[in-house]
Structures are given as C-alpha cells and as structure tokens.
C-alpha cells in the first residue's frame, strides 16, 4: 500500500541543520493498523507527513499503490491526497467559517465531477457513523474537542480513502474522548481502511496491529 524507501529528511534553517529522519525503510500493507510511537521530536510527524505527500523527503522516495510519488506532477499528487489518503490532525484543522456539514464536504470541492447532492448524502451517512447527526449546523467553535475530532474523521472519510493518516488524533482529548475516537478508528480498520496513527499513548497503541518505534529519526525494531 505505502512503502518508504531509504527516506532521509533534513531540515535546513539559517545555521542549524536538523536530521529528522535517517534511512527509513518501511512498508504498510493494505488493511493494517499501524501505530507510530516515540519520544517528542523523534520525527513521527515528519514521517507521517512524508507518507501523506505533505512534505518531500531529502532523499529516498514514497511508493503509493506501486507508484513512485516523487515522479508525479503536483496535479497527480493532489489527486492521490484527495482520493487515496485521509488526514486527521492533532489540532483538528477545521475551517472556522464552515459548519460541520460543510467542513465534511470540503474535500469533495477538489473532486471533479462529483455531485453536491450525492456528496451531501454521503456526508450525512458518515456523520451518523461518528455520531454527529444532531450537530450539522454547528460551527467548530461551538463544538467540544472530541466532537471536532469526529468532524475531522468524517472529513477524512468522505472521499472513501484507502489509507487514513492520523497524527496524534487523541492528543488534544481527555482519555474518555480519546477512547471514543479510538473505537471509531478500530471500527474503520475492521471495515478495511488502512490506518497509520502517531500516538503517545501506549494503551491505545496496544490496540493496533503493529507498533513502530522511532528514536532520533531512526526506526528501532
């Protein structure tokens, strides 16, 4: 599904040079639920962003569905992000001016030829799945953190992605809310969605299929 080959990532800022990732080789198979763990600053987010084509590696390449992403045009990368990947962020990243329903519909803005009414039907189904049917017209500022994250999950799901990349999806939530979100993710995984999730929570990580540990930019097995 997703393969990282010889990934290195170095951030160059003014005088400092940070090696965030060193020689990462990794394959995530279809249907897997992978947790990425490691101390703060070890490069977890960087790795996830590179997997999701949100950032470019300094060396190495990402293969998604047998296609080398670094060889694609921006337009085609955008299409992969839109059709194959779904993102969930620690800080939700909802658009404050759009209500719950519109936030969920946002990715479909970039899907050519999709019909708004069909998208809307799907959005309502998904919102029901995450238990937000009673909050459709609310704006992000009127929702709790857990509700925001459920909107973000719904948004990640609307495009029917093969892979969900989640960076500390429970990081801003208390343990009860975190557990609820985790339940949704586990359910999705059972239905066939591949999930890669960064987390600090050992208990949550134990519920996944595989745990990858990063230390100082290197994978430790």
């Amino acid at each position: 599904m997703i393969t990282l080959e010889n990934i290195n990532k170095t951030f160059y800022t003014k005088e400092v040079e940070t090696r965030a990732l060193e020689n990462i080789n990794l394959t995530v198979e279809k249907g897997e639920f992978v947790a990425i763990m490691g101390p703060s600053g070890c490069g977890k987010s960087t790795m996830l962003n590179i997997m999701g084509l949100l950032d470019k590696p300094t060396d190495g390449w990402v293969i998604i569905d047998d296609v080398r992403a670094d060889l694609l045009y921006d337009k085609d990368m955008a299409r992969i992000r839109n059709q194959k990947l779904g993102f969930i962020f620690q800080s939700f990243h909802l658009i404050p001016s759009l209500n719950v329903l519109d936030n969920v519909l946002l990715p479909m803005l970039y899907r050519r030829g999709s019909s708004h009414s069909e998208n809307k039907k799907r959005a309502l189904e998904i919102l029901e799945k995450v238990g937000l049917t009673h909050r459709l017209k609310h704006f992000p500022s009127q929702l709790s953190g857990g509700q925001c994250q459920r909107v973000a999950i719904a948004r990640a799901l609307i495009g029917e992605p093969k892979v969900i990349l989640a960076d500390e999806p429970t990081g801003n939530l208390d343990s009860k809310m975190g557990a609820e979100i985790m339940d949704i993710l586990i359910r999705l995984n059972r239905e066939g969605t591949t999930i890669v999730m960064v987390t600090h929570d050992e208990k949550l990580a134990q519920e996944t299929g595989r745990i990858l540990r990063l230390f100082d930019g290197k994978l430790v097995l």
Partner: protein, 407 residues
Amino acid sequence: MGKLRIYFKPIWYNIMHHKAYAGFCVFGTMLTFVFITILLQVTNVIVGNSVTNVAKERTVSLPEVLRNEFDIPVKGLNSSDIRTLMNNAKGYECYTCYQYQATSVKVNGRNYDYGVLFIDKAYWDVFQFEFIQGHSFTDGEMQMPCMIVSERWAKKFFREGKAIGQEIQFQGETYKITGVVADVSFIAQGGAISLWVPEKFNKYIPTGNDYVSSYVLYPEKMSVDAMMKSITDAFQLYGKVYCNVERSSVKAICTVEQMMLRRYGGDLLLTGVGAILVILLLIPILNIILLSMANASLRNSEIGLQRALGATQKEAFMFILMENLLLVVLGTLGGILLTFPICGWIDKWGSLNNSVGEVTLLPELDWTLFFISALPLMLLFSLLSGGIPAWLAIKHSIMEMLKGGEK
C-alpha cells in the same frame, strides 16, 4: 451552488476577520483608481480624439501676429487679413477666425464676469461640438444678436431645458440663446468657453484690437507635411506681398495635435503619465503585499489544509488570489463612483479661480477607454498585489503551510 458556497465562505470569513486589511485593500485600490481614471481620461483629452478635438491632427492653428524671421512682430492679423491669406492656400476644407473678449454679462438681472467668443459661421464646422438643444448659427442668425451657450452655463442660470429663447445682455446688446452645446473638458479646444456670439457684434472691447485666432481644417487623407506646406506657403506669400516681410516666422504654425502636445509637454507628458501610473500602482501594491503577508497565518493554514485535502498548487494560488481580486474589484468600483464627486470638486475649485466660463475637467467618462485601460490595470494590480503573496505562500510545503496557522 453548494460547492461555490463552500468555496467562497472561507474567503468572505477571512475578509471579515481582517477588516483593517480588507478596508485598506479596498480603500487603497479605490484611491489608486480614482487617480488613474482621472489621469488617463485627462491624458485622453489631450492626446486622444475626444469631442471638439476629433480632427486635431488635421486642424492647423495660425498665429495672431505675423512675425519676421527674427521673431519681431510685424502685423496683427484680423479676419480680413486671414481671408486674403487663405485665398492663396490650397486644399483645405474650411477655416474659422474668432476673437475672445472678457466682459460682464447680465443674466436674470445680475452681472457676471465671463469670456465671450466672437465667431464666424465656420467655427462649428472646425470644432465639432455636440448640440444638445437648438443648432449652430444659420446665415440669418449670424446677422442677429444670437448666442450659443454651454450645457453647464445653461444649467447654472436656467431650469433644465429652458435656456433656449432666454435673453442675455452685454455691451449694450441683448442676445437671445439659440443653442446649447454639450460640455467638453476645459483642456479641449473651446472647452474653457461658455458663450459664443456672431462676430458681427464684436466691439473689440476691452482688447482694442481686432486680431483673431484662426484654425484651418484640412481633408482627412491629406498628410501633415502637405497641410503644412499649403499653409506656410500661403503665410509666407502673404507676408511678402502685404507686409514687405521677406521671410515670415512660421514657428507658431502647427496642428492642434502638436499644439496640445507642446502645451502639455509632448513626449514628456506620456513619459510622465507612465511614471505616475507606475508609482500610483506600485505603492499600494507593495503595501497590500506586505499587509497580506502579515495577515497570512490563518489563511495559510487553511490553504495548507485544502492542499492536504486535494487542492492543487494552482487551485491554492487561485484561492488566495480570489480574496484579493474581490477586494480589488470592490475598490475599483468604489474608485469609479468616487471619480464623479472628485471631478465635481475639482470643477468647483477650478471655477472659483476662473471667470472665463463654467468649466469642467471631465464632462463624462470615456467608457471604452476605461475598459481598455483601467480594467486591465486593475487585473494587473490584483495579479501583483494578490499573486505575489499567493505565489510566496504556495511555495512552502503543505506541512509548513498547515503550521502557519497553528496558535
């Protein structure tokens, strides 16, 4: 429809949440386009073919005084001198002679200072005014105390459409208004004048001389060289035969087009206008770019998100540009609306300093000129002021853009 709403709502929200920036953007654009519109329209009056200047490249101006080769004045030229002179000129269509006198005219029982032009019948053929009421002088009217007035002047003294037939007195004569002409810019030929009467009634007061301004209209296909040769030859001949001047100075003979350019600076005018345009555009563009970048963080995180959800770089660029374009279009529209009161204010201020006529800088906007100049400039303005920040923003990786809005 639903998709459009989702697209535009964040733009509108961003505008409403950066009111100071949006206000500056609109206001800056507005002021810029007021000045650009006025500048371009006025330049058009000078160099373009607006009303009364329609034939400026084939209308030749003659000097009022004949000078010898050392530029010493020899003889003032009156209308019968010009008639004699023109007998020897070839190929022209018609010519006009007129004299300007400043006087005090009595309207509605009160006296006002105005300039009056004493004209011959051909005046209206050489300078193509548009009559909105009545008509140019007929042969019969040339013998009667008739008067043609400008639109503004008529509006100042009489109710709309009631000027025809009204009586105006000056220098012991009572004139009847027989025509009203549409206003032209005071920069154009005849634009500074509000009152025209037949030459027959000229008492040469207060100038005390009968020297006339003369303009000769040549046919459309004639070259400027041919016109000049026709008129300078006739001028020289007249000097030789009637004034004993071996070589008269013909420096002052030129087309109205050349005269306008000489008066307003020629090539320098266009360079100057160009330079002012660039400055007028650059200053707000720079300001908007800087402000826009200072306000970019919320927007950048939204663009980053849109990119993560599948927007291409081009779509992200267009999204940022769209916000700017909305503001610039709003500002430009405001600028056009503001042009009218500002022109009115300039006219008011101008008429305080002048008692020649009821003058106006721009009687109306030339919309064709507006669409071919101001509109492209507006797009350029938006492309630079919105496009540069947009381009700088989308060069970042999506991850960096996402972070751009994190608090």
